[in-house]
């Protein structure tokens, strides 16, 4: 039986879940883009997210920049990192076996994580700004302001990216490349340059994702695997079909996380997530990379 108190608790959990879900969509976009368009499984994706969090930390500590501004700064910085990674490493392994690509990206993960530990040690960090503990209260339902801001930034990016892929000529070319790289090339699309763009964009979303996550959660150089798990789950459930499906999957994961964290101690949330991942992998099977769903 639902009392009014538990009802408002539930509504609060649902709102929180949707807000988190938007953030989860944002951190999954990069993985989905590189996988769907370039066929690259970026195992280093979550280390880029972690770097984004530290960018926000450094900018806050050194220049006093608000994380909202850091999210804007992250775009060119991480786009550049992505372009460099693509040019230096990914483009070299694109034509070799997938094993080589995975090994190289695993190496990138090791280097970034190691460098982050050297620079920032393994201590847990928190971003504290004026509104960190602020919340909006409405009818007994409290919404944390950082979560709201994070969700708005995430939503803005999801809409921007979706519009870019749907309505611009570049977006059309990228979608063509996702369907058939060789055919796109024959039609005169410069797939090498587009790969740079896609990887840059994917890295930029990871960077902003990191900034945004840092507003909500504490972070350290080694707990980013959690975000890899979440992002992978969103990609598996949402498929590589479209950004809108990714958004739906992200919102679903956000809701599941907040609802299950009311019902169980927090560490069990991980196992619910793993269970979901297993079920999703078993159900989707080949569908994940199937030709039908590749039409991003």
């Amino acid at each position: 039986m639902l009392t009014t108190i538990s009802l408002s608790l539930l509504v609060q959990a649902l709102i929180n879940g949707l807000l988190l879900g938007l953030v989860y969509t944002l951190i999954s976009l990069g993985l989905s883009l590189t996988l769907g368009i370039m066929g690259v499984v970026n195992v280093a994706h979550s280390t880029l997210i972690m770097l984004g969090s530290y960018l926000a930390l450094e900018l806050l500590q050194r220049l006093g920049l608000d994380p909202i501004i850091s999210a804007v700064v992250a775009v060119p910085v991480f786009f550049l990192i992505g372009v460099l990674l693509e040019r230096l490493l990914i483009s070299r392994v694109a034509r070799t076996s997938q094993t080589t690509g995975l090994l190289v990206l695993f190496g990138v993960l090791v280097v970034i994580e190691g460098a982050a530990i050297l620079r920032w040690t393994t201590d847990t960090q928190v971003l504290t700004v004026s509104y960190t503990n602020a919340s909006l209260t409405l009818d007994g339902i409290a919404i944390a302001v950082p979560r709201l801001i994070a969700a708005v930034i995430a939503l803005a990016l999801v809409v921007l990216l979706d519009t870019f892929l749907r309505s611009t000529l570049y977006g059309k070319a990228i979608r063509a490349m996702a369907q058939n790289r060789d055919a796109a090339r024959i039609s005169g699309i410069d797939t090498d340059r587009l790969s740079l763009l896609v990887f840059g964009l994917a890295t930029a979303t990871a960077g902003i994702g990191g900034v945004v996550l840092a507003m909500i959660f504490p972070f350290d150089p080694q707990d980013h695997y959690r975000w890899l798990a979440w992002a992978f789950l969103v990609v598996v459930i949402g498929g590589l079909g479209s950004i809108r499906n990714t958004l739906l999957a992200g919102l679903l994961i956000g809701l599941i996380e907040t609802v299950s964290s009311i019902l169980f101690p927090f560490q069990y949330v991980y196992f619910i997530v793993y269970l979901l991942l297993v079920v999703a992998l078993l159900v989707r099977g080949q569908g994940l990379a199937g030709s039908q769903s590749r039409a991003l």
Partner: protein, 337 residues
């Protein structure tokens, strides 16, 4: 000359080459066994660790090397093995020797939980899933009551003096390493190994030609996990203290991948070459870190992770078949001339 004679000569030559190889291997193992009583204590410890990593790398290589399915979470099975031994021994008073096969079994069951969802899929999702599961297992072990949480488990000490103790582990790891290398050698020359290589080279045709890909991949994973579990159990008794951060450290997964890669993926010799090579490199880096000032400050010891990452990238890009690839190229040239 009759073909029967030719055949007999050829078989004789083959027999002789096998005999020499066998004798060489036996001599090497005999030498290592002898070293166990001759060399000083810290060397015994170092070599034990070499043997342990060869076990892990050979176990990893079955699926990762031959079949090309990269497991970035090998430490999961190692850690599960260590913790199985720890929990059974300290909480249920199971005899230490009995916990070792049990550790292998539990690690195999965990591998089943990873393998069944991931290995039905083609390609690379397996790699991501292994990273995720190794993180999840670490969280679980840190938060469970039975594992002692973050404070870990103190293992019971063996009733011997320090040197005898080290020697016991030396011979245990040596024995198991020889078994694992032998297993890898046999797999490489058996239908199982050929089928795994077929999966690596092109999975679809392999399946069309009748290779039961999913089952074989799962078998390869389980075998590797069992070996890692056993290694983990012995490691737990050897270090006498296990805790989630160190026992489930990603460093172990990285080391195993890198050692196999440097030695040569998909060859039984690869880990045997790669493990000592990388352990020596790590040692040199540690010494360098102490002596080389970098930008005015001494390098912290953790910088070897970054160097290992760079080595991983460079080897994967420039020499993806490792030392064995170079050896085979030189040998191949000699044969074709």
């Amino acid at each position: 000359m009759s073909s029967a004679l030719l055949e007999r000569v050829a078989t004789g030559a083959r027999w002789r080459s096998w005999l020499y190889r066998g004798l060489g291997a036996a001599a090497a193992v005999g030498l290592l066994a002898l070293l166990g009583v001759l060399i000083p204590l810290d060397w015994v410890t170092t070599l034990s660790s070499v043997f342990m990593y060869i076990m892990l790398a050979e176990g990893w290589n079955i699926l990762g090397g031959y079949a090309g399915y990269l497991n970035f979470g090998m430490v999961t099975f190692f850690g599960v093995g260590a913790y199985t031994a720890g929990v059974l021994c300290t909480q249920y008073n199971v005899h230490p020797l009995l916990t070792i096969p049990l550790a292998g079994s539990v690690a195999t069951v965990v591998a089943l939980l990873v393998g069944v969802p991931a290995l039905r899929l083609r390609g690379v999702y397996f790699a991501i899933l292994t990273l995720i599961i190794s993180f999840l297992t670490q969280v679980l072990v840190t938060n469970l009551g039975i594992t002692g949480g973050a404070s870990g488990i103190y293992m019971p000490a063996l009733p011997f003096d320090a040197f005898t103790n080290e020697q016991i582990f030396y011979y245990a790891f040596l024995f198991l390493m020889v078994l694992t290398v032998l297993l890898a050698f046999l797999i490489e020359h058996a239908r199982f190994g050929y089928a795994l290589v077929a999966i690596r080279e092109d999975e679809d045709p392999a399946e069309i030609l009748g290779v039961r890909t999913t089952w074989l991949k799962t078998q390869a994973l389980l075998l590797g996990a069992c070996i890692a579990g056993i290694a983990g159990a012995i490691y737990a008794f050897h270090t006498s203290y296990i805790e989630p951060q160190g026992t489930f450290s990603l460093d172990i997964s990285i080391d195993v991948v890198l050692m196999s890669l440097v030695g040569g993926l998909g060859t039984w010799q690869g880990p045997v070459i790669g493990v000592p090579l990388m352990l020596v490199t790590a040692q040199v880096l540690r010494i360098l870190a102490g002596e080389l000032p970098f930008l005015g400050t001494a390098l912290p010891p953790e910088f070897d992770r970054v160097v290992f990452g760079v080595i991983l990238i460079l080897v994967a890009l420039l020499a993806p078949s490792g030392v064995m690839g170079l050896v085979r190229r030189v040998r191949g040239r000699r044969l074709t001339v």
